[in-house]
């Protein structure tokens, strides 16, 4: 038998303790334990003496409570019961957007924007707004200079890549050609009409008003006009944040579970990071099942069946051993599957540093649970 090459180990402690590491971003598809991983890493960094904040997007209720996050107030709050300085916050997307608007305009103008129906839709349900605001909050935290380390959890997107793409898409749209044309009449009055007499625009605005109804277009147009004067364009800001993610001191930690879909997403992400020269620290494979070594599933099954046959005479005598063997069959099959999945990923990405976290019987919802996860992250 040939021995497979093991992927290099991801040294979480080295990453978190390194003073050069200023931002850690966890990403991956939904349901793989991103938030828990982010919180566990932040806790570990804080207890190693770093002034740390963790920005979570959508934590499980009990996990949020365990970190003292009882309400969505968009401000870092100290987490009690930590030997060090850990702050945690939950992203309030609408509020972050409102703050951006308020910070860059006069109160009157801000009121005008808040009242705009298009803004209301945009700030609460626009595709990509959550990602954009997570990035915005991240740059605010980074700009404050207050933190040794910022750990960011990413929104539960359709695709993990949305976190990277949505802000630019939103920026491109708000700063784009179409919006400029929409705004032009409001801004430039008569002068614009020369530019506007093009076949394209006529068709375009006609169709859009037809489909969406004239009101929406007007709302968009006045919203963008109001916004434009406040700061140097959305695209520029999105671009800045994107650069922050490429800057030295940022590290991405891709999180996956040992399932085909989650690992496929992880693959996309790893490839994308390498293409964009973004710093990948490594992969965390959560919920890896492990079984007692030294007994195969089929041997255990045969043994359990043998006991079941004997049990006819005195059924309680071997019941415990039979049940323990059946548990082993189930566990060993799952463990085999998980190991196969992890190997497949490693074969495709042999250079990605990896750490596996064993599956725990129950979800984590207190600091001790997070500590346990963080120990497992650092141990393996």
């Amino acid at each position: 038998m040939t021995t497979r090459r093991q992927p290099p180990a991801l040294d979480i402690d080295a990453l978190l303790r390194d003073e050069e590491t200023r931002i850690v971003v966890t990403c991956g598809s939904g349901g793989v334990g991103k938030t828990t991983t982010a919180a566990a890493m932040a806790l570990r960094a804080a207890e190693a003496g770093r002034h740390t904040v963790v920005l979570t997007i959508d934590p499980a209720r009990r996990l949020a409570q365990s970190m003292g996050l009882t309400e969505l107030d968009n401000t870092p709050r100290p987490v009690k019961g930590v030997e060090g300085e850990l702050f945690a916050m939950m992203l309030d997307m609408k509020r972050t957007f409102d703050d951006v608007v308020s910070a860059h305009s006069t109160p009157d103008r801000a009121e005008q924007i808040f009242a705009n129906p298009f803004y209301q839709a945009l700030s609460s349900s626009f595709a990509g707004t959550q990602e954009y605001m997570a990035m915005e909050k991240l740059s605010q935290l980074a700009e404050s200079g207050e933190w040794d380390l910022i750990v960011v959890d990413t929104p539960p997107s359709r695709s993990a890549l949305d976190f990277l793409d949505a802000p630019q898409r939103l920026g491109r749209f708000l700063d784009g050609r179409m919006i400029r044309m929409l705004v032009a009449p409001a801004k430039a009055g008569g002068r614009a009409s020369i530019k506007l007499v093009t076949v394209g625009l006529t068709v375009f605005s006609k169709v859009l008003s037809k489909i969406l109804g004239g009101d929406l277009l007007q709302d968009v147009s006045s919203f963008v006009a109001a916004l434009e004067t406040m700061f140097g364009g959305f695209r520029q800001r999105a671009e800045q944040t994107y650069q922050l993610l490429k800057a030295p001191g940022t590290a991405f930690v891709v999180v996956a579970a040992p399932e085909p879909d989650a690992l496929r997403e992880a693959s996309y992400f790893v490839e994308r990071l390498s293409r964009d020269d973004m710093p990948l620290a490594g992969l965390v494979v959560n919920r890896l099942h492990r079984a007692v070594p030294g007994l195969t599933a089929w041997r255990a099954e045969a043994a359990a069946d043998a006991l079941a046959e004997k049990a006819d005479s005195d059924w309680t005598e071997f019941a415990l051993a039979e049940a323990a063997l059946r548990v082993h069959v189930e566990t060993a099959l799952t463990a085999d599957h998980d190991a196969r999945m992890a190997r497949r990923f490693a074969a495709a990405h042999p250079d990605v540093a990896t750490v596996a976290v064993p599956a725990l019987p129950a979800d984590v919802h207190d600091l001790d649970g997070l500590r346990r996860i963080s120990d497992l992250l650092a141990l393996s």
Binding site: A60, G200, V203, A262, F318, L320, A321
Partner: protein, 318 residues
């Protein structure tokens, strides 16, 4: 499917990310196609999840044969692409396909399909409605049932109600008019929402929340589908009251089965851990009991699931 749902034409399958809603939607479509019926399985998230699951090439924006169901039925697949759905829509209502290129260059298509609040969802649900209500020349429905692999629970209400929102934003125009028809179908008893969950804390919490919310919003709940349930293996009284295993008894049994006695301790540890998991499962199962919907429990077929296994899962719905 439990008899009460035979009147349902549109089955919306949602669940938290990672719970296996695509697999469940596919198994349900297979079950509904049995005995010579024809079902359409629709995906809307651009992931090509159906192609992967049924092991066929990536689906274009066209209805394509996916699999034969038992006793002569057929499952047809459709991956709705919002951009193409918009163009189709423009052509249908305005004969505007020629302007598409111009619109695209202007960023208008991008705007309408990815950015404008809710428009994307309106286009998707609009197309779903069209396939659900489509009839042939003799006036019979083309599909006996449509199964929608819908967005996850976190977004499902927004998705189903996008039409309402857009109707409010666009006070006039054909999108507004079309919205009304879509809303009627989604809120009628011909549409049922099925919730897929694992027996874990977060998915169960989301399922309970979504069920409450959807029912309050006037949607009809179909079934709660518990996916990947682990078998109950630890029997009553097999752990001692303090939660440990009687090692002597275990060793005795292992010896009788010819298993190395040195494994007794690690196997005991594994047994206790499994018992913990089993208890957590039971707790989560109990939390689902309050949802006023039938419950279907599927076994744990470790993914990737293949066609044969889909048939196996389909039996749980019949």
């Amino acid at each position: 499917m439990p008899g009460v749902l035979t009147d349902v034409r549109l089955h919306v399958v949602t669940g938290k990310g990672g719970t296996g809603k695509t697999t469940v939607a596919a198994a349900l479509a297979m079950a509904l196609a049995e005995g010579g019926r024809r079902t359409l399985l629709v995906e809307v998230e651009g992931r090509q999840a159906l192609a992967q699951l049924f092991d066929v090439p990536a689906l274009p924006y066209e209805e394509r044969h996916l699999a034969a169901a038992r006793n002569g039925g057929e499952v047809v697949g459709l991956a709705i692409d919002p951009e193409l759905a918009l163009l189709e829509y423009l052509e249908m209502f305005y004969n505007l396909k020629r302007s598409a290129r111009v619109l695209k260059r202007m960023g208008a298509i991008d705007f309408a399909t990815t950015l404008a609040p809710g428009v994307r969802d309106v286009l998707l649900t609009g197309k779903v409605k069209e396939t659900t209500t489509r009839t042939d020349k003799s006036g019979r429905f083309v599909y006996d049932a449509v199964v929608l692999d819908a967005p996850p629970t976190g977004r499902i209400r927004q998705f189903l109600e996008a039409t309402t929102e857009v109707a409010n934003l666009t006070k006039a125009g054909p999108i507004n008019r079309q919205s009304v028809g879509v809303l009627d179908l989604l809120h009628s008893t011909r549409t049922a929402i099925h919730l897929v969950t694992l027996l874990e804390e977060m998915p169960v919490q989301e399922t309970v929340d979504a069920a409450t919310e959807l029912a309050a919003a006037g949607f009809r709940l179909g079934a709660v589908v518990v996916n990947r349930a682990r078998p109950t293996l630890v029997g009553d009284g097999q752990l001692r009251p303090d939660g440990t295993v009687d090692l002597a008894e275990l060793r005795h049994g292992l010896a009788a089965a010819g298993v190395d006695a040195a494994l007794a301790e690690p196997l005991a540890g594994q047994f206790v851990e499994y018992a913990d998991r089993q208890a957590v499962q039971a707790e989560n199962r109990a939390r689902l009991a309050d949802i006023p919907a039938s419950r279907i429990e599927l076994p744990d077929l470790t993914p990737p699931v293949d066609l044969g296994e889909l048939n196996e899962l389909a039996e749980y719905f019949s």
